[in-house]
Amino acid sequence: MKITILNGEPDSASSFDAYVHEVATRMATSGHDVETIELRDLDIKGCSGCWGCWAKTPGECVKRDDTEQTCRAIVDSDLVVLASPMTMGFTSALLKRMADQMIPLVHPYGQIEGGEMHHRPRYEHYSLMGLLLGAGPDTDAEDIEITQKMWSRTARNLKTRLAFTSVSDRPAKEVAHEFATVA
């Protein structure tokens, strides 16, 4: 199984960053093809709402930055794990800036799904998604629930689903096993 971890931890020296890498190593040890993309090292220009990816260069951001890699990961992996520490009740701005630039993966055209308007797919395959969250000192159950809800909707508009959410207070071994069996 091909698993891509999009690591949205801005601080390479944090304990959560070490935890993310431990989860990655354990999944690789079980025989999965695991790649970790460190978002902090990428050139992410940020979506400016220009609609270029929908109406000028369909399927690609006009800014031609490193989000090409993260978009590719969504269509050529079986599972994409979004990893991020919780700050002010949500995932990092770094992770969100990357996710804003995933809209070239779908069409601007709409379609009805479950009685709601959503985007139409551009690809046949989209990877499953999972959330790996690093709880902060002020993180509570409601923060996790709200965060999960927003990312579930993001996943839905990316023509996939959020298959699991895991918080860093659990042993990496257990989490790695669970991630690898869910997809």
Partner: protein
Amino acid sequence: MSSLLLLNGSPRGTRSNSMKMLSRVGEGWVRGGGAEPEVLHLALERDRARAAEAFGAADTVVLGMPLYADSMPGLVMGFIETLAPFVGRGENPRLGFLVQSGFPEALHSRPLERYLAKFATRLGCEYAGTVVRPGGEVLQVMPDRANKKLWESLRSVGASLVVGAFDPVVLSRIAGKERLSPTMVRVMSLAEKAPVTEFYWNGLLKKNGAWDKRFDAPYASA
């Protein structure tokens, strides 16, 4: 007189739908007796650098944004991260929000609204409410005079802010349809297309000479 700070969280900056809406909230605030509001655009580097400080100094703040990939734009989350030192400060401003989305239904913005309400509480701010407006991209296409009712509702929201929180009746009027009616769902599902959306995007694609590339899938594996 108490002060109002309008924070425009749209990555499009001054030419955004969020700003069009925020400026009407500001007009209503002045009409209700408030002082001329200060406006900062998070998309402009110079404004962004002063945004946290201005937030701390204002009596009331309204932070407006478009819905991006089902939550706040990364730009806005970056600003939120800079407010961490304000948690529990004790004299934070009253805080309201405005969220506009391109979807036809309000329900898409509700999880973000929930986050924003919790965020205000986390800061220890008095929460004034969130204006939710779907169908926002229409504002770029239609002339301003065609949206008179919306502007007036937004002014009325701004005026209510001078004396208290946003008026829930007006908020519900601005939000419009929470979800599509069963009839709309049937019609759109049968057509397998959303004709209005198609018309708009096809026009742009043709204008840009990108019509033949509209179904391109550059990341598909060979």
